[in-house]
Amino acid sequence: MSQFERDLRESLRRREPPAGFAEKVLARTREVRAHRTISWRWLGAAASVVLMIGATLFIQEKQRQAEGEKAKEQLMVAFRITGAKVRDIQARFDAIQKRVVYPQLNP
């Protein structure tokens, strides 16, 4: 081995990192772990929120449909009664008209 190569090897020999390097690295990995747990927790929370919103919207839609059906029933009752009364009125006025126009037929 030449002197030059010896010098190169000497200049590139292993050096220890500053004191506490390993602890710093391990501390950072713990931060990463905590962050990941938080991230997963946030993801889980976000997923829960999405599910809840979805479920809420579904329930609200079902409620809306139920309310619509109830209102429809109410409307149909109101309209049937109205229809019946209008028919009565029509029949009554038809009878009046006949008595007026044809009194001899409808005494």
Partner: protein, 164 residues
């Protein structure tokens, strides 16, 4: 012939679906009636009902057509066990309200203590509602339509099956 006094009273609210005539004076009939039907449908309830109507069913198709433009529908039906349970004078508070200038009579008939009236509510010279009042000896019917502007609209309801 049965002595009937039928009062049809249809009230119309103009822009807002609220009643234009006060129906509170009819509350006293609820206390003495054998049976009663009281329906109050404001604009939002009508919208909700409209969304559930199916054009595939005959009666619902009629209803859907009639309900177009209707912003409120108020109905009172009181049946009494015997004649004389009430007097026509008891309906005076309602009829007094029809003396306002924006109410125009379409049909008025009184026969044998039976009273039938149809009135149109006017707003800026245009009809924006209809009232039917039918008063019989054993029954009072008050029908309040908001946004109903033609009698034909209500006549169409006569095609609905009353037994359903």
């Amino acid at each position: 012939m049965r002595k009937f006094a039928i009062l049809f009273f249809m009230l119309v609210a103009s822009t807002v679906s609220a009643q234009q005539l006060d129906l509170k004076s009819l509350d006293k009939f609820a206390d003495i009636a054998k049976s009663k039907t009281e329906i109050n449908m404001d604009e939002s309830t009508i919208k909700s009902a409209t969304s559930a109507l199916s054009e595939k069913k005959v009666d619902e198709a009629i209803a859907k057509k009639t309900i177009e433009g209707v912003k409120g529908f108020y109905l009172r039906v009181y049946e009494f066990g015997q004649k004389g349970a009430y007097k026509l004078e008891d309906l005076k508070p309602l009829f007094d309200q029809l003396k306002e200038p924006n109410w125009k009579p379409i049909l008025r008939n009184k026969e044998n203590d039976e009273q039938t009236e149809i009135w149109m509510h006017m707003r800026n010279g245009e009809p924006d509602g209809m009232v039917l009042i039918s008063a019989e000896s054993r029954e009072i019917v008050v029908i309040n339509g908001v946004g109903v502007t033609r009698l034909d609209d209500l006549t169409a309801l006569g095609k609905m099956d009353p037994l359903k």
